[in-house]
């Protein structure tokens, strides 16, 4: 009979809160709404969603200062990474719910189920970030995935949402199966599904008779995660799905899902890597980072469709985070892994010190937070500009829609400009600070070549981000362009996101200080 204490359940409180909120919303939809198709009686639902997210975020913030420990018999961990990601997820889902309120009302499609699915997805993300065992991890990944599949196809009247949802589901199932298969192989090699146990067995195993099992399993698991974070060449679904999904859902996917999947990926591979040849995860993630940074940015370049452009940009940003992940596995000087061109880790500082790892974690987490805030803001403006009438014409997200926005909606134009600058990594925005931290961490780890590729690609990226700004501020609006409606929820969400983008860019100090403290705590 295992014994549990309240301490064991602390990490899952935020997820539990999100789930309870979601259930409340479901029941409210079933029992409280009298008129089935009117938005008027559903005004409180977005508020419930935001309050739930805020509550969960507060609890997660509180958890972030707990000593890191393994709980629930090794099935989950309570550590600053998972807590931080839960905070990011809570912020993201809160803002996404606010954005949805206006978006759905405009389409007369506001339903409690939508918010409930968002909260369920958030719960899945939170749990994914703290899973320390493969079955738990897979189940949580599915919780989050199934919710997002449903959300993607939520506006089922059009052809795009249905197609996007179906593609996402098929390819998601495929990648899920790959991950599960990889996990099965790892179980076969080690006899346990817990990460801690696996690490122990792998570290102890001197002979490599089952090495092929381990390596195949690892590659498969990496593939599964690479699908979720949209790394090239497992990104193919991204543009279609991001474009087809309701825009607030796209924001949630691109910010929250990515953050949670990255933390799970790091958790798995940091646990398993010590038992493997050091250069294999390095080359694996280095190659993914290289491909993702280059291809993501290149494919975003010719896009005139801003939503697709942002989808590719999301791919590119996954590449920058992968650059940070690669830095974690950079081989120390003098070991195998040199002389590999761009991927080589040149011994700038000799042995990578342990404190450099803290800097890398800090950089990755800060980047995820910054990207989440920025992406919410940019998709938020996009959502606010959308009109249902255009959706069949396929010009909903054309660059021309942004022409003259600075005159008709200066507030939105400023928000979008801030987000574009942030995505392009231009100061004084959070994107700049994030890129700075990641590139510096990569250079400190000796990844000079990859860092240079990163800087070059982000310079090229400035072109397509600034093009939006140019359209907003320097082109005149077309004749008879419709003025989009405003909703106070949208404005609040955009204001919060823009404030975050700029404040975190100017004063990143408090957050980085907190992250330093948290990573030091975790690595102790």
């Amino acid at each position: 009979m295992p014994s549990f204490s309240i301490q064991d359940f602390m990490p899952i409180f935020p997820a539990a809160i999100l789930a309870v909120g979601a259930m409340a919303l479901l029941l409210s939809e079933a029992f409280l709404v009298s008129v089935p198709h009117a938005s008027a009686s559903r005004g409180y639902q977005a508020v419930i969603g935001v309050i739930t997210a805020a509550f969960a975020g507060t609890v997660a913030f509180h958890n972030a200062f707990e000593d890191p420990r393994v709980v629930l018999q090794g099935f989950a961990v309570l550590d600053p990474f998972s807590s931080f990601v839960t905070v990011v997820v809570a912020v993201t889902v809160g803002l996404a719910v606010l954005l949805s309120a206006g978006f759905l009302k405009h389409r007369n499609a506001e339903r409690g189920e939508f918010y409930a699915l968002m909260l369920f997805a958030a719960a899945g993300m939170s749990l994914l970030a703290l899973s320390a065992e493969f079955i738990t991890l897979f189940v949580n990944l599915e919780v989050l995935s199934v919710a997002t599949y449903a959300l993607t196809a939520y506006l089922r009247r059009g052809t795009r949402p249905a197609e996007a949802g179906f593609k996402y589901f098929i390819l998601g199932a495929f990648s899920g199966a790959l991950l599960l298969y990889g996990a099965a192989l790892l179980y076969g090699a080690t006899g346990t599904t817990k990460l801690a146990g696996m690490a122990e067995v792998l570290r102890a195993a001197s002979s490599g008779d089952k090495a092929w099992l381990v390596y195949c399993g690892m590659v498969l698991v990496a593939t599964g995660f690479a699908f979720k974070v949209a790394a090239v060449p497992f990104h193919m679904w991204t543009p279609d799905v991001y474009e087809g999904a309701p825009t607030p859902v796209t924001a949630l996917m691109s910010a929250g899902v990515k953050a949670a999947a990255f933390v799970a990926l790091i958790r798995v591979f940091v646990a398993l890597a010590p038992g493997l040849g050091p250069q294999v995860p390095f080359v694996l993630f280095g190659g993914l980072a290289l491909l993702t940074m280059v291809a993501g940015n290149l494919m975003a370049l010719p896009q005139r469709n801003v939503k697709r452009m942002l989808a590719y940009s999301s791919v590119a940003h996954a590449g920058y985070v992968l650059l940070g992940v690669t830095a974690l596995f950079a081989p120390a000087a003098g070991t195998e892994g040199h002389g590999m061109g761009v991927l080589s880790a040149s011994p700038l500082l000799g042995q990578v010190p342990a404190s450099a790892h803290a800097d890398i974690y800090k950089a990755i987490l800060f980047y995820l937070l910054g990207y989440a805030v920025t992406t919410i803001g940019s998709f938020g403006v996009l959502a606010a500009l959308e009109r249902r009438e255009d959706e069949t014409r396929g010009t909903t997200w054309d660059l021309d829609r942004f022409a003259g926005l600075a005159h008709s909606k200066p507030g939105w134009a400023i928000a979008m400009a801030a987000c574009m600058l942030s995505l392009g990594g231009i100061p004084p925005t959070v994107g700049f600070m994030g890129k700075l931290l990641v590139f510096r961490a990569a250079v400190d780890a000796g990844l000079l070549g990859l860092a240079i590729v990163g800087v070059l690609t982000s310079a090229a990226a400035a072109y397509y981000y600034l093009r939006v700004v140019v359209y907003m501020f320097m082109r005149n609006a077309a004749e008879g362009a419709a003025v989009p409606e405003r909703h106070w929820q949208t404005d609040v969400a955009l204001a919060v996101a823009t404030a975050g983008v700029i404040l975190l860019g100017i004063l990143p100090g408090p957050v980085t200080a907190w992250l330093t403290q948290a990573t030091m705590l975790a690595l102790r």
């Binding site: 590659v219 498969l220 060449p233 497992f234």
Partner: protein, 754 residues
């Protein structure tokens, strides 16, 4: 020495002591605590910057009068603060921090910490106000405020008033940065800033291509000068670096205020480009010949300048600074931009191109006086440059008919006078002329603006005439200022110009015994020319009959916003006399009586004077008593020039008179500005254009633009477009690509293991 210890209030002291003593004690007893005023210096700059921000960003929405209020009020606030600073630097107890050991009296300053640092080289962000800066502050903010006030009326019909006032405020801020800087780097920020504002304001009416072109010309000419400035700074850093390594302990005074440790500590605290560092460096150099220390003739034994003597480096540095100063202060051969700069609004000409910015070069040399006196060669070159400029500009001014052009050339000419004074080591005389010139030249320009305003923007003096009755205030103030610039006795211009001529006459540079004497002759000739063309301008504009082809039959007097500054400036042009009369006992306790300005600036230039004593490069012949003879001669010359002009243009030629014979030839030459612009075109612009054409076509257009820039962009865009074909929208092919990626990874992993 006057005893001020029992000074309580003005009236109480006046009853027992004389007027002079009372005034002296009054200015030496500021009624506030001077200890912390250094920390507030930044506010003087911040106010106009804030004004520029508000005018530039919100000016369009605030409306005209609010913009006027903010712009003028911010400069006036600056003026009030400047008055406090001016007052605060007078007591001898006021001491600015100086990490180089010696005490910096009569100055306030603040160091706001490191600005930037690269290796050993550091630059602090620091401000310093001594007597020199404080006087400049008063001129800049005082005249600046009057010109803001004037502009509120002058620009009352312009649509882009908010832009104008934003630029004007920004200019004031930059000029204040220039004079408050305590290092060459921050000074350079102001230096470039005023250049930029000048460019913006000359091309203010950028719709007119000629005006936009004038702005560009000013900017490019200034850039040539800035190049010299930067090279000078780099060389200075290298020379001081070499000195730091080479200096011996004997180089530093043994009274405890200096040692090589203190010098190095000072350098690491303030950086080599701060004025305190240059001061300490120059104090260490000119010691009497001693094998045990580094002197001007010592050869540098380390670093990139190895093999050159320190004295030679100082000369080169000063000549580079001269290039910079010649650009900013419109000296030969870089003066060509200033006459064209008159394309800007007239108040701008008064503020920037007469009263303040163009004196930046003189300010720079006054600030670096201790460096200047180390090189008689450089001083001779400076004096000769000033002489050539002064005479050339005066001759060109002879034949100009445009009221603003004449004033512009007259400015160039007067700036030449100031350079002559620098060359003679009479820094105080140069600065006195800066101050008096600021007053009367601003007044003349504003008067010209008033004339134009009242005559439908007519600038040709031959189409004016007889304005003395129609514009009485403009006329009276213009007359006073004209008399001042020509050097009539009771006015300020007489004393400042005479101080310069007197210095030229009595000073000898070692190795260049006769140069200053020749320059003196040039100065006398220029003074006569000045009187001539200024009286010509005055007579043709204000007297005689009204020209038949005038644009308006009757001129109208301007508003009070325009005439009030005129009156104030004319009064200042008279009152500045007080600076120029020798009444003070010599600060060195011996020698003849000093003028107020010389006495006042003594703390600023005392290190230069000490160096002169140590090196003996400059010798000044002191006369006993007041220089009645020199005064008489200067006065007679001015009177002769002016009188001849009045006779010729009032009674002989009238308006349409033509010269004949050789005079006609000279006149034609002068009218075409001695073909200097054409010479530039032939010697500089054509070749540069040719080379740049080659570079443009081959390097820029072909290699960089087409191959490098567009090439990369094209390749990138094409790759992106090609990658799009992979994105077919077909879920099966997506899965296939994923599988392919997976296979590659699996293959790699297995390859590693097996």
């Amino acid at each position: 020495m006057i005893d001020c210890s029992d000074f309580q209030s003005f009236g109480q002291y006046f009853s027992t002591h004389g007027f002079t003593d009372t005034v002296t004690c009054f200015v030496q007893n500021p009624p506030f605590n001077t200890a912390n005023i250094g920390n507030s210096l930044w506010m003087i700059i911040a106010l106009p910057i804030l004004g520029a921000f508000f005018c530039g960003v919100f000016g369009k929405f605030m409306g005209r009068s609010n913009t006027h209020l903010i712009a003028s009020a911010s400069v006036f606030g600056s003026f009030l603060l400047s008055v406090m600073v001016f007052w605060a630097v007078n007591p001898s107890s006021t001491v600015a921090p100086n990490p180089f050991g010696s005490t910096l009296r009569y100055a306030v300053g603040a160091d706001y910490g490191t600005w930037f640092q690269a290796g050993d080289f550091r630059v602090n962000f620091g401000l310093l106000a001594d007597h020199l800066s404080a006087s400049m502050l008063m001129v800049i903010t005082g005249v600046g405020f009057l010109i803001h006030l004037y502009s509120t009326s002058y620009m009352s019909h312009d649509k882009a008033y908010w832009r104008y006032f934003a630029y004007l405020n920004l200019f004031v801020a930059m000029m204040l940065t220039l004079v408050l800087a305590d290092s060459l780097v921050l000074l350079f920020v102001g230096w470039e800033g005023v250049g930029m504002c000048s460019y913006l304001l000359i091309g203010f009416w950028y719709d007119d291509p000629a005006k936009a072109f004038a702005g560009r010309k000013a900017f490019i000419t200034n850039r040539i000068g800035d190049f010299g400035f930067l090279v000078a700074c780099f060389l200075l850093v290298l020379t001081m670096g070499a000195f730091t390594l080479q200096a011996k302990n004997n180089n530093f005074p043994g009274d405890g205020t200096g040692s090589s440790q203190v010098f190095k500590a000072g350098l690491s605290a303030k950086g080599p480009l701060s004025f305190a560092a240059i001061d300490a460096f120059t104090r260490a150099l000119p010691s009497k010949a001693d094998s045990n220390q580094v002197t001007l003739s010592t050869v540098i034994d380390n670093g990139p300048l190895k093999g050159f003597a320190y004295g030679a480096m100082v000369t080169v540095i000063l000549l580079c600074f001269l290039l910079g100063a010649a650009g900013k202060s419109a000296q030969f051969p870089l003066y060509v931009w200033l006459p064209d700069a008159m394309a800007g609004p007239t108040p701008v000409s008064a503020l920037i191109h007469a009263a303040t910015m163009v004196t930046a070069g003189i300010y720079l040399f006054c600030r670096l006086s201790y460096l200047v006196v180390l090189s008689p060669t450089a001083m001779a070159v400076i004096a000769v440059t000033g002489g050539i400029t002064a005479l050339l500009a005066a001759l060109i001014a002879f034949a100009q008919d445009d009221i603003k052009k004449i004033l512009a050339y007259s400015t160039v000419s007067q700036l030449g006078f100031m350079f002559m004074a620098i060359g003679a080591g009479a820094f105080w005389a140069a600065f006195l002329h800066v101050v008096t010139h600021a007053f009367f030249k601003a007044c003349l320009f504003l008067g010209a603006g008033s004339v134009m305003h009242g005559n439908a923007e007519e600038t040709n003096i031959k189409k004016l005439g007889g304005l003395s009755k129609e514009m009485p205030v403009t006329w009276a103030t213009f007359l006073i200022s004209t008399l001042a610039i020509t050097g009539m006795v009771p006015l300020s211009g007489f004393f400042s110009k005479d101080a310069i001529l007197h210095a030229l006459h009595t000073t000898t540079l070692e190795g260049y015994e006769h140069i200053l004497h020749w320059v003196w002759y040039v100065g006398l000739a220029t003074a006569a020319c000045t009187a001539f063309y200024m009286m010509r301008l005055y007579v043709l504009t204000f007297h005689g009959t009204r020209a038949p082809d005038a644009k308006v039959p009757h001129a109208h007097e301007s508003d009070w916003q325009m005439t009030l500054p005129l009156v104030v400036l004319a009064m200042l042009a008279i009152a500045a006399v007080a600076h120029g009369i020798p009444v003070m006992e010599n600060a060195n306790r011996e020698g003849p009586l000093q003028t107020v300005m010389e006495n006042y600036l003594h703390p600023v230039f005392q290190n230069a004077m000490r160096s002169i004593e140590a090196t003996g490069f400059v010798t000044v012949e002191h006369e006993e008593g007041l220089p009645w003879g020199a005064w008489g001669m200067a006065w007679a010359i001015a009177l002769a020039g002016g009188g001849l002009s009045i006779v010729l243009y009032r009674f002989v030629f009238k308006r349409d008179g033509q010269w004949s014979g050789p005079a006609e030839f000279i006149r034609s030459l002068a009218q075409h500005k001695f073909y200097v612009d054409e010479l530039y075109e032939l010697l500089v612009i054509r070749p540069v254009k040719f080379v740049s054409f080659i570079f443009f076509k081959i390097v820029d257009s072909l290699l960089i633009d087409t191959v490098a820039v567009r090439g990369t962009a094209w390749v990138t865009a094409q790759t992106g477009a090609a990658l799009r074909y992979l994105q077919s929208g077909d879920a099966q092919s997506y899965a296939a690509i994923m599988t392919l990626g997976l296979m590659c990874a699996l293959f790699y992993a297995l390859f590693k293991v097996l």
